[in-house]
Amino acid sequence: MRILCCVKRVPITGGKMVLTEDEQALQTRHLGFTISPHEECGVEEAVRIVEAGGGEVVVLALGPAEAAEQLRECMALGADRAIHLESEEEWDAQATAGAIVEAIRAEAAPFDLIVFGNESADTGNYQVGIRVAYALSLPVVTGLKGLTLAEGRARCEQEVANGRDIYDVPLPAVVTVKEGLNLPRYPSVPAKLRANRKPVDLKPVVPPAARLQKLRLVVPEGQGKQAEVLGSGPEAAPEVIRVLQKLGVA
């Protein structure tokens, strides 16, 4: 089984979001970077499939030179090698999908499964996976919370209101997955060190002429830390119980 996981380097936004002066980007001076929780689950799922049945997990990112960090993280989780489409530019969903399709076609052998996060953690366009599937004429199922492969087919569980829809598609296929699909592992120290020795195929790419224009970014109201100090010491206990009861967990 050959599986491709596509991931995106995004800032970790635990605190208040601050925009650059031109309102074209997020101020990332203080921020760390990661991949989205959806993508983490995608990589974990791919690694588990290959651990159980053999094969190869390839992880792909389109992004700046620093995106190599995220590819190494994925390889520390068990991916075997990486493709880095390197570009400092910002790419829209259509252009991104185009570059990924080209990279897939350049591979010596086709992939049996191509995994995306349901949407990226920063721009949230929900498009790239579907566009790639369309371009490659492959079936695509989105928003998966369950995935089982057997006899050349994928049983896909998609979360819907009050239940799950089940789709059964032939491989090769494209899936986009959501956090909760599995519980991703933490990388071990030897896995981290192994990741440093795994191959990364670095391919500089140039974006096509933009067809979308970003006007400006706006930080929505109510962003930032929502923590409230309820008190300290034993005196805080009644207040904690009240909150737990309100949440229906006590």
Binding site: R29, H30, P187, S188, V189, P190, K192, K225, V229
Partner: protein
């Protein structure tokens, strides 16, 4: 009870920063009787987001520095008292023989500072205590059973709440400092996001943010935020049945600059091995913007790769297990200073503005207590001289200097640092006018207060032949590091003929005006109302009669006194004198350090040499000991002061700094026919001094000992009042608890047959190997050590209990894990060389 609603209009003192230091400080201030205290933090409580919140919270008490060890031991006492200390034991492991030697040195420091329970253990014993350590990669360990972890946030909360409960303190979280109002050099008010508070005392306990807050008042707190990387792995199968937070001793992997510390089911792995990663206080995000806390920066994986390899070697049982994952990884910020020591005390720039910064969790409560004592009583029980924020010269507060030294010091956090070790970065900042001459003479420069100062001269290597067997060669690499036998040759040439010394690093300041006498009388223990032209060497006492400094004062006029003191402590002395001027402004103080250079000339030929350059009468009768006057040497008018720190006839010669080179050339030429040599500080500060048993501040003289114990209570107590007088009089009337003695080493031969020479700070033991403890529970240790080339013996100074302080008493000194026989040579200020002081007074 974490917050009071309304900011008061005024306060006795405002403490900014509710980390381990600020919380501890307000508690101790309240305990010492201060009320109307305010504690502010811009973050929420109990964890406002500073370095305390992400500290690894473990404490290894042993340090080579007495001051840091005392602060740490006091902190442990306080943590234990409030039940937030969990003893785990700790082992510093060695991967190399050089490190084992260092660990032996640590055992000695532990004994010198009274930590009795430490011992060296074998790799097998390490394995027994910490089963997941791979014993084949280590050669041994230094085990301290009293190592433990603390809950520093809990301690802070208890401290703060106790001060609140006493009614002395109000606390305001989420309160940002906007400005500090200063009038005529004094703190007037604090501006905050909640309003203004009128106050005369502000204490900055803001950790990595401290420089930014100090700048609001025009003061500087020279530290830089720096990254300490840490990861947390787990769950560790070895810890499966662990009930508490920690059951296994903490391991410090000294040679890789790393530690491994159990945290429940996980293991924290921290490092001081990565490249120095320095930040600016302005770069730190706000609490709101920070993803974690403001001082937990995103982890930079590449900096940690080698550390993972190293950790894997030491604890493969844990880390090779693929189920043990890296769950958390941060670049945590901590504070680094140019010399690695905290920044405590009132800032020299602004009265009433105090700093308690660059303090780690291990010494936090001790610092809180000591600074509170200093603020309320004018001195602390633990001597804070090395941490005094007044110690820095201008250039040492510059951003570049701070960053250069912090970067250089960072990787020495677990380093093997020789007591004579020199900094490499940002050198050649202060150059004396003699510098070009000294370079030509092959001077080996050591740094003193930023000055480049010759320690010895390679051009004197020819003297080694002249003195042959009288020069000791040191066989062990450790003792010959930062040392040369040439020092001993220069010493002998000085005793035989004469030697020139570059003393430009002296700190020199004048106190002038109608209130000048009152000022110097108040600060100096000895009589200052002397005839113009007298030079007085005097102790400077703390209120409790211990040593604040020792220095020399020349009376140059009725209303002019010139203070000359060592460079290292000069800035703190300057502040101490400035702080004791009369309120009416009748005394001025002028720093002349950069205005004058000092050339020392000592040795039996020095009178002839100077006489050949001057028409002035240099005879003993005309120019007696302990006097000064202006003489003409060639075309230069020179202030000559006849005193000596090396026990020889001679003078300190002061000229304006631009005339220094001319002075050097004159004396050099006149000295040549007499066989004069240039000599370095190796002679001035060690060999010459120790043969005369002269005491040095920071070595023999500190806040742990008094004038009587130091054997310096000669003469009558002067009648005018001075700081520490009452205590001093009482000390004179009581029996001293310790006596400063001079000892010599009887046999240097180690078990391996190599001769070893203690360098100072070693424990002094009875002949049966028992520690010596005086009535004030102080251990006997070597305060200074060095060669005595003229007496052919290695000399040690040490305070001994009176029962051991008899001439001829046989004792031991422990050095590098072995014990050497020593004997008491003198038990007062009588020198071992020229006991009658005939040379000085000839």
């Amino acid at each position: 009870m974490t917050e009071t609603a309304k900011l008061p209009l005024s306060a006795r003192a405002v403490v900014i920063g509710a980390g381990i230091v600020g919380n501890s400080l307000v508690y101790h201030l309240a305990e010492l009787g201060w009320t109307e205290l305010v504690l502010l933090d811009k973050g929420p409580l109990p964890n406002p987001g500073g370095s305390t919140g992400h500290a690894s919270n473990f404490i290894f008490p042993v340090d080579h520095s007495k001051e840091m060890t005392q602060l740490t031991l006091d902190s442990v006492r306080q943590y234990r008292e409030w039940d937030v200390f969990t003893e785990s034991g700790g082992i510093e492991v060695a991967r190399t023989e050089a490190r084992m030697e260092e660990l032996r040195r640590r055992v000695a420091s532990a004994k010198a500072w009274g930590i009795e329970d430490t011992r060296l253990i074998t790799p097998a014993e390490v394995k027994e205590l910490v089963p997941f350590v791979e014993e084949s990669v280590i050669v041994g360990g230094f085990y301290t059973p009293s190592v433990g972890i603390v809950d520093s946030l809990r301690f802070g909360t208890i401290a703060r709440e106790r001060a609140q409960a006493s009614g002395a303190l109000s606390v305001f979280a989420n309160t940002e400092v906007l400005g500090i109002e200063v009038e005529q050099g004094r703190v007037k008010a604090l501006r905050t996001s909640r309003g203004d508070i009128v106050t005369e005392v502000i204490v900055i306990c803001c950790g990595v943010w401290s420089p930014k807050i100090a700048r609001m008042a025009g003061a500087s707190i020279p530290l830089t935020p720096a990254v300490h990387q840490m990861i947390d792995v787990g769950p560790v199968p070895h810890f499966k049945n662990t009930k508490g937070v920690i059951e296994f001793p903490i391991v410090r992997d000294m040679d890789t600059n790393m530690y491994e510390r159990q945290d429940g089911s996980g293991l924290e792995i921290g490092s001081y091995a990565h490249r120095p990663i320095l930040h600016d206080p302005e770069e730190i995000p706000s609490n709101e913007e920070a993803a974690l806390s403001p001082t937990e920066f995103p982890f930079t994986q590449d900096d940690f790769t080698q550390q993972m390899e190293d950790a894997l070697e030491l604890i493969p049982d844990v880390l090779n297990d693929e189920s043990v994952g890296i769950k958390y990884a941060i670049n945590g910020l901590l504070s680094l200073t140019p010399d690695g020591l905290p920044l405590l005390g009132e800032t020299p720039e602004v009265k009433g503005l105090w700093s308690a910064a660059a303090v780690w969790v291990k010494e936090g409560p001790g610092v809180g207590k000591a600074v509170a004592e200093w603020m309320t009583r004018g001195e602390s029980e633990i001597d804070l001289q090395s941490s005094d924020i007044a110690r820095f010269y201008e250039h040492q507060r510059s951003r570049e200097h701070v960053r250069a030294r912090a970067a250089e010091g960072f990787n020495k956090t677990y380093g093997i640092v020789h007591p004579g070790e020199q900094w490499e970065s940002n050198r050649n900042v202060r150059l004396s006018p003699f510098y070009p001459r000294e370079r030509e003479l092959g001077a080996r420069f050591f740094e003193a207060a930023g000055w480049e100062r010759p320690q010895w001269y390679e051009s004197n290597a020819k003297l080694l032949d002249e003195y042959g067997d009288r020069i000791n060669r040191r066989e062990a690499e450790w003792e010959s590091r930062w040392w040369s036998p040439i020092i001993n040759a220069e010493h002998l040439a000085m005793r035989d003929r004469a030697a020139m010394f570059d003393l430009t690093a002296f700190c020199v300041f004048d106190i002038t005006g109608p209130g000048a006498l009152e000022t110097v009388q108040k600060v100096s223990m000895r009589q200052m109302d002397v005839a113009v032209g007298k030079v007085v060497y005097t102790p400077v006492l703390s209120p409790s009669g211990t040593f604040k400094s020792d220095l020399t004062v020349m009376r140059l006029g009725d209303e002019q006194f010139r203070v000359v003191t060592g460079g290292a402590h000069g800035m703190a002395d300057l502040k101490w004198y400035a702080d004791h001027r009369p309120e009416d402004g009748t005394a001025s103080i002028t720093d002349l350090t950069s205005a004058y250079t000092t050339l020392g000339l000592w040795g039996p030929r020095s009178r002839e040499i100077l006489a050949s350059l001057t028409a002035d009468d240099m005879s003993h009768e005309a120019f007696p000991f302990a006097t000064c006057r202006t003489i003409e040497l060639g075309s230069l008018r020179v202030l000559a002061s006849r005193i000596s720190y090396v026990g020889e006839l001679g003078w300190e010669l002061y000229v304006p700094i631009e005339q220094g080179a001319k002075l050097w050339d004159l004396v050099w030429e006149a000295g040549e026919p007499h066989g004069t040599v240039p000599a370095g500080i190796g002679v001035y500060g060690t060999t010459g001094r120790l043969e005369k048993c002269y005491r040095a501040f920071g070595f023999e003289l500190d806040a742990d000992f008094d004038v009587v114990e130091a054997g310096m209570a000669w003469g009558r107590v002067k009648s005018p009042d001075f700081v520490g007088k009452e205590a001093h009089v009482w000390q004179r009337e009581s029996e001293p608890a310790a006596v400063l003695c001079t000892l010599t080493v009887d046999d240097h031969t180690s078990r391996s047959g190599v001769k070893r020479y203690p360098l100072g700070r070693e424990p002094v033991l009875s002949r049966s190997g028992a520690p010596l403890l005086d009535a004030k529970r102080r251990r006997s240790y070597v305060t200074s050590a060095g060669a005595g080339p003229s007496i052919g013996k290695h000399i040690l100074l040490s305070y001994l209990p009176p029962e051991n302080a008899s001439v001829g008493e046989e004792l031991l000194v422990e050095y590098m894990g072995e014990q050497y026989p020593v004997v008491v040579a003198t038990n007062d200020s009588t020198p071992v060389f020229d006991p009658e002081n005939t040379r000085v007074k000839s």
